[in-house]
Symmetry: C2
Subunit: 197 residues, 2 copies
Amino acid sequence: MIGPEIETLINLLSRMPGLGPRSARRAVLHLVRKRESLLLPLADALQTARDSIVTCTTCGAIDTIDPCTICADPRRDDSVICVVEDVGDLWALERAKATKGRYHVLGGVLSALDGVGPEDLSLAGLKTRCDTGLVQEVILATNATVEGQSTAHYIMDMLKGSDVKVSRLAHGVPVGGELDYLDDGTLAEAMKSRTEF
Amino acid sequence: MIGPEIETLINLLSRMPGLGPRSARRAVLHLVRKRESLLLPLADALQTARDSIVTCTTCGAIDTIDPCTICADPRRDDSVICVVEDVGDLWALERAKATKGRYHVLGGVLSALDGVGPEDLSLAGLKTRCDTGLVQEVILATNATVEGQSTAHYIMDMLKGSDVKVSRLAHGVPVGGELDYLDDGTLAEAMKSRTEF
Ligand SMILES: [Zn+2]
Ligand SMILES: [Zn+2]
């Protein structure tokens, strides 16, 4: 006995991470109550997101311009590429102001279990970027999980023979932990004392 | 270094109940990954919600039509009005198919602490509906909290002297509990064995 439009909205919201059917219903009621301050701007923001969010063809980040804000920024250091698993990790490192270099988003990690092989990640793009002669250091900032570390090893092997120095984040990152859960200070510290790979 | 449009979307999502800044960031990444199946339809659904969700001037429910689907349904029983605190409670009772009557949404409960008095709730509208002569029973389905029960008492006093029978949900509702958290069976049971007030 709820209108189909509201039902649709609840169903879609319940598919967001962290929201189930019950919290989606609460979210809809909250949106309706906060019509001016939340529903209207959120509807606009999603419209904008729909129309303008793109994946950067250089690094794999998401932004409203391609190349993204970071790739287009002349003040960033072209000689350093920080390799991350996904965009959330890039955002975490940016919040921590951990590097002035560029990024490369792999789009996942190697995983035999999940059937993710090298061709499923943006490894070819990384190799191409490293072959331009501009890059002097690749910082491997994959998660400290088994898959993250074996992906790091795979990349180290891939870059062997090139002139690029390969480093990884220092062991400030808790073993088994994920970057996106860490506080800024720990991330910045781990970046500062990164070790040669 | 995230584009301002994405930043805005994260900020708005983090103000939804159940989502904080971190889960809002995850939600945005999820939306971008599920562009076709989630971002596009959700943007449309919110646009529709913005343009069409209204509060029913009869009962206080939300819908895309006014009077709402329930108030406009000729198969519902005009002689029964079920009084609830908010729209979430109405939805819970509807899911449980607990009544074939109409509803009246109070928009809250009396609370000295929160400064909510009788004039802040839709009590005048309820009185008007009860005075039409159509209504034979008012079921008080406020929450089993102190405020919910004192609001129920207030309404019972307000309707004293009219010919309307006032009942309330049976004590299947756990004391101190809120309707929206209950399973359908408990709600239906509580409705069936409602007691005269
Ligand atoms: Zn980029
Ligand atoms: Zn209505």
